[in-house]
Symmetry: C2
Subunit: 330 residues, 2 copies
Amino acid sequence: MSLAGLGEFGLIARIRQAVSDPADLPLGIGDDCAAALVPAGELLLTTTDLLIEGVHFRRDWTTVRDLGRKSVAVNISDIAAMGGTPRQIFLGVGLPADFPLTEIEGFLDGVLEAAGEYGAALAGGDTCRSPGPLFISVTAQGSVPPQELLTRGGARPGDAIYVSGTLGDSALALRQLQAGTLPQSALARRHHDPQARVTLGRQLAAGHLASAMIDLSDGLLGDLGHILTASGVGARLFPDSLPLSEPLRWVLPELLAQQELALTGGEDYELLFTVPPAQQGGLAALASAGLPLTRIGEIVSEPGLKLLAADGSLLPLPSGSFKHFGSADR
Amino acid sequence: MSLAGLGEFGLIARIRQAVSDPADLPLGIGDDCAAALVPAGELLLTTTDLLIEGVHFRRDWTTVRDLGRKSVAVNISDIAAMGGTPRQIFLGVGLPADFPLTEIEGFLDGVLEAAGEYGAALAGGDTCRSPGPLFISVTAQGSVPPQELLTRGGARPGDAIYVSGTLGDSALALRQLQAGTLPQSALARRHHDPQARVTLGRQLAAGHLASAMIDLSDGLLGDLGHILTASGVGARLFPDSLPLSEPLRWVLPELLAQQELALTGGEDYELLFTVPPAQQGGLAALASAGLPLTRIGEIVSEPGLKLLAADGSLLPLPSGSFKHFGSADR
């Protein structure tokens, strides 16, 4: 049975059955709008992302369950990057007419599973047929107390630059897939099933430990560029300190290739944040809790971005690394 | 110049320049999330809709400016249907690689123009290339005091059924376009540039004049079916009382054809609402204000939907009129 056999209303009915509304969602799926409660005094956070078959994913490289999980995670990652608590997910899906019902169900299972893990409710959506590729649109809502909001614009000279987890794993898996190689399983998970760093984002925000934050979707250099532009500052990065996973170092033994991938590879969905000198003690306590937090550079007043080797010598920026920063700031 | 020439960041920069953030939007376009203030004590309303080229629109039938306007209006219409005040718009666009920059700008002009008319701010979005058709995803947010929220579930036996404006104009224009005929201009406007009935929705909600409400997107019978199902009631409709425009009656002189179109034609984006007996005086005062409000039937306790002629005799339901109601309730 395909979407054409089930019909849009049948699909919505199935989704409704699978979803129970939490207390902060008086009206979920099934009316013209969802109606939600934003905690008193908190800011509403909203982000939207598109995932298009052939651009962001290939159906022969991923399972539909992972695709559902990733569609949620990449949006929740934006909530995490503001220091927010995830609340609601809205899902738009344009389905090719021959898309099998079992695949739709697998995709929805993935969406609901991931939403549940992040404490978010599927609160509405729209489904229709697509005359082209599979088209997914996710909007995520969250909330944050105003005094805890972490933007891209708060980095100041003297702040340390930190990143969570390891870098380049997702991009390496993608590169292997593109080359026709089966990625090592840990790398493939990083690409197909990324984790939004919600707990870390909340800890940094609630503890007032960070001055600016962004999630890594376009690649470290590009996303750091967004912080530098928004904050009106520059940065020095130390490539030798970039956190690299064991599987990445095993697949890619050459140090320069490792560093280039860590600097430019996209879809890490780790948090990149800046920490004022006075807060670095608080951060050390946090870093011992599991997810590694690595100091990779520092904010300076002089605009622009420099890569520095361990001996202090200047390294060249990887070519074609990040169009945005390259064209706008240099 | 196309999207490929401009680049995604160039497009976002252009949108940012065109947008100034209102007071209830401390953080608009340009960070990981938008951050908005929901008025204290009010519920957050959210709705999302997809518009896919070849399914919901054809680029040779509409201007990109109208397409931008309609993308906003059909979402705001859902906010209106809950009695809400529009607040923010989030826009996702998957653009074919050869889509010209001037067309993108025209589309954005339409989005911003319509958002402005409804008092909503463009607060975020996502743009990327589409390997298939033009793909548009809009999420609209609004707010409403909880005691004024109008759902589909409040209709009670004895309530009168009302509709705003005239019915079938948009569907007639679409039918003419499909037949290769140029629609009369007033009909074409109803199809390409529908108006969300925000003011009426707010008046009905704030005055506690309606018991249930929905906006007409799938056609009168289908959308009334949603109210009946959600409210656990039935209805009698009087086809002779359906509000029809002059242009529709001119193009379609036969009464049965007029009524069938008014009952089943989609995309009217008028408000369909039920009015308790005690509120019909208040409604009469409202109806004199401009937009016609027409009583077209009544809610009954017996489930199902009956069409009654002026002499009280039963009329047949149009065939294939509305799959949802047909399969679920009869």
